[in-house]
């Protein structure tokens, strides 16, 4: 870990090398430890420290970018010089608003020493709990336990100075019983909150419930989505529709429908990077403070997230959602999405379902038709048939293909509790409840 004082000292040094130019410097660093296991033994186990210092130099409406992972004076000077050379040939961007001015940033305590100091032996012992539970029932356990610290520091010649450090621990397992699998995970700032035995029990229950999987024909089914599954449905709205760039390019279904009803009355979706129920962080890669942004309120399209560039174009302030792209560019993207909870529960949803499905999670979801946010993907690790209010069978995995705009217009019930969860690709960490959607479209089936 670099630490606030040393990180800001490096940034000040870089700024001192940028004589005669405006400049913005970011230093991102990650100390990651990660243990993976399969077939009831550990097969990969690592620790790594990675860091990247990126300098953007600006003159008028021209900018150039360079980055290095080394923080010695020679490397820092090289980065500044390379950024200047790139700036000289980049030409002017007429809409470039300049570097953002500093805004007050809220302090958030997201650093948990118990997570930062987790040892390889601690992670191995947690893995051993799951492996032991699986072995005792003649099952196979696979999984991952990662823990670490992320740091982000930003400084600019316009006066921005920001630093944040946060810890994260993520423990997940897949339990395998022949072709049947079950899944569970826990995502938290504080590794002490991870109960490996509870994770094992949840996944074992899923893997062993109704051992004979049945074929179910594609069609529309009332479907209960556990939080893991909902994370994959909401991620396409975040990736494709909620950024101001998508609005400005006309690529978002909300671009021409702000203020209109686009989803069901019971759907409210927002982003709040300051809410510590999520993996909060107080500012973005430009050093701009995170603002709460409501995307959908009671089904009505309300707003978009902005970085400084898209904000200037629309004459508004950045909402603190600049997200890095390759090559030093930013795009505005949600960071911490929430779906408003309801007044139901998973058990109540089950009891109210005459015939339907329970989906634990999805695999390899994608978006074949962005304008209507049509998503597709396959279920995995526990898909079950519900009849007359009860789970009656395990179902072989199914492919869904469905417009998320339409699906979120048919939300029939929402749980009263939500949890921090992550989609399969780790695009977003969102706080989500379990939901039930009427007539969800499954378009294919697989053989296991």
């Amino acid at each position: 870990m670099i630490g606030k004082e040393d990180a800001l000292k490096v940034l000040e040094k870089v700024l001192s090398f940028c004589k005669g130019f405006d400049a913005s410097v970011t230093l991102s660093a990650s100390d990651l430890s990660l243990t993976r296991y399969y077939d009831n033994h550990i097969h990969q186990n690592l620790r790594r420290h990675v860091q990247a210092l990126t300098v953007q130099v600006v003159k008028g409406k021209s900018a150039g970018v360079a980055s290095t992972n080394l923080l010695d004076d020679g490397s820092l000077r090289w980065a500044v010089q390379a950024a200047m050379e790139n700036m000289e040939v980049s030409g002017e961007e007429k809409d470039f608003p300049g570097l953002p001015k500093p805004e007050p940033v809220q302090e958030l305590n997201c650093y948990v020493p118990a997570t930062a100091n987790l040892k390889p032996k601690d992670r191995a012992e947690a893995c051993a709990v799951v492996i032991g539970a699986a072995k005792s029932k003649g099952l196979q356990a696979s999984g991952t336990y990662s823990s670490g610290v992320s740091e982000l520091a930003v400084a600019s010649t316009t006066g921005v100075r920001a630093y944040h450090a946060g810890t994260e621990a993520f423990f997940r397992t897949i339990i395998q019983d022949g072709d049947n699998t079950g899944y569970a995970d826990r995502l938290t700032r504080d590794a002490r909150e991870i109960d490996a035995a509870a994770v094992a029990e949840e996944a074992i229950t899923k893997a062993t419930l109704f051992p004979e999987a049945v074929d179910l024909p594609p069609g529309r089914y009332d479907t209960i989505f556990e939080e893991y599954a909902l994370a994959d449905l909401i991620r396409f709205l975040g990736m494709i529709a909620f950024g101001a760039d998508a609005k400005q390019h006309g690529r978002s279904f909300m671009a021409r429908r702000l203020g209109e009803k686009v989803m069901g009355d019971n759907v409210t979706i927002w982003d709040d990077g300051l809410d510590t129920a999520s993996l909060a962080a107080p500012f973005d890669i430009e050093g701009m403070p995170k603002q709460k942004v409501v995307f959908i309120e009671n089904g009505v399209a309300k707003g978009f997230v902005y970085d400084s560039r898209t904000a200037a174009k629309d004459g508004v302030k950045s909402t603190g959602h600049a997200s890095p792209l390759r090559g030093g560019r930013f795009v505005p993207r949600p960071s911490n999405m929430f779906l408003k909870t309801g007044d139901s529960s998973r058990d109540e949803m089950l009891r109210s379902t005459k015939r339907g499905l329970l989906v634990t999670r999805f695999h390899y979801t994608h978006c074949p038709e962005p304008m209507n946010v049509v998503a597709t993907g396959t279920t995995r690790d526990g898909t079950f048939l519900i009849e007359d209010g009860q789970i009656v069978a395990r179902v072989k995995n199914l492919r869904f293909t469905e417009s998320m705009v339409e699906a979120f217009s048919r939300v029939e019930a929402i749980a009263r509790t939500a949890r921090l969860t992550r989609d399969w690709w780790s695009t977003f960490d969102s706080v989500l409840p379990c939901v039930k959607i009427r007539d969800f479209s499954f378009t294919g089936s697989t053989m296991f």
Binding site: I42, Q44, Q51, G91, A124, G250
Partner: protein
Amino acid sequence: MLTELNRILGLAQKLGAEYADARYVSITQEPVSVSTDGAPQISVSKSTGLGLRVLVDGAWGFSATPYLDPRSLEKTADEAVKIAYASALCKKGDGVSLAPMEPKRARWQTPCKVDPFSLKPEEKVKFLIDVVESAKKVPGVFRATASIMSYREEKEFMSTDGRQIEQTIIHSGGSVSVMARGDGDVQSRSFADYAGGGFEFVESLDLKSKAETLADEAVKLLKAPVCPTGVTDMVMGGSMVALQIHESCGHPIELDRVVGQEATFAGTSFLTPEKKGSFRYGSPSVNIVADATSPGGLGSFGYDDEGVEAQRVDIIKEGIFTDYLTSRELAPLFDQESNGTMRAVGWENIPLIRMTNINLEPGDWTLDEIIKDTKEGIFVDTPRSWSLDDKRLNFHFGQEIAYEIKDGSLGRMLKNAAYTGMTPELWNSCDAVAGKDEWRIWGTPGCAKGEPVQVIHVGHGAAPARFRKVKVGVEA
């Protein structure tokens, strides 16, 4: 850096490692892009460091550091060994044993005519401005972007088995993307390709004329009908065949997926061990090789990150599945030696079994002959979305563009095309593959796998091909 590598291997052995390998890697990248609605974006990045992998008591440990001073090397060695001891708390039987390897010293470099870093950024910008201007002049175009990727990797590898390998890997590529919008719709067309080699490859792509064609197509797509749903014969363009190979052949043959090592993220494989040597993967027209020696391939190299020589291996021969991609740890499952596919991204990651160039061998048709021979169907090209189940059986792919085929001719343009199916069924329905003249190795720089995720460069030799009775259309 050989001194540092030697030092850290010695430290690891002193601390108890029965095997260790160390990689010093320095990567320089220079992405340049130009778009019609902003200034050119030019950036350069460097990443340098060392990764150490150790086997202690039959269990793996890995640690990586950007710092190469003696104290950092000691800390890294100590950390890797301690991690391995922790792994040994949950090991299987006697733990890992590696396929044998003879000591060797070698050096390899990507053949390259024009070093992509020898061009000044302003030359690349000018090149790209010409490309986007070519697209912009087509009425109805809303936005066009073009980019060039330049990549150099200097790598030094040393193992306690006596392998000492130095490599310089150079990759270059270019892309163009055009967006048109109207009537509440947005349609895009794009082209991208990457290769092992220098700027001569970027020049060979002829992005400028491609940009104009793509722009014209993007505008026309706005008014095109949506691809209907149904079951029909389908002809794929080369870029689509390349992705189909990547997702439904390349990933299932990774032996680490087969045994379950990637279950929690990337998934496993339907291609279970008893299928090796007998499973009918595809029709007799389907011949696939894994060839890390393909000239110009984005997945070509001299040695993998275990120090094993790059190889060409038959994967599917006349439709029968014959071999997996393997490592020194897993090849002994079949009494084999590694076929050299363990690669890591950068210095900070562990090596994993990765695709090299997974090539569908050319057939003896031409695209023109295939279309003339098709009574009714669709032609699809350029991937827009891809989704597969966690064993790589059920797939769904979306495309940027499609055309009807009627009585042996291309008909109307179609938008929002997609097809879905099951991997062995699709490859068994392949009855025509175009020949050498229309075959090329497509560079895929975005292959993701592992935790933490590693995005690596791979290649796919592909030519247009026909598949019978495929389910097409986005059915929501």
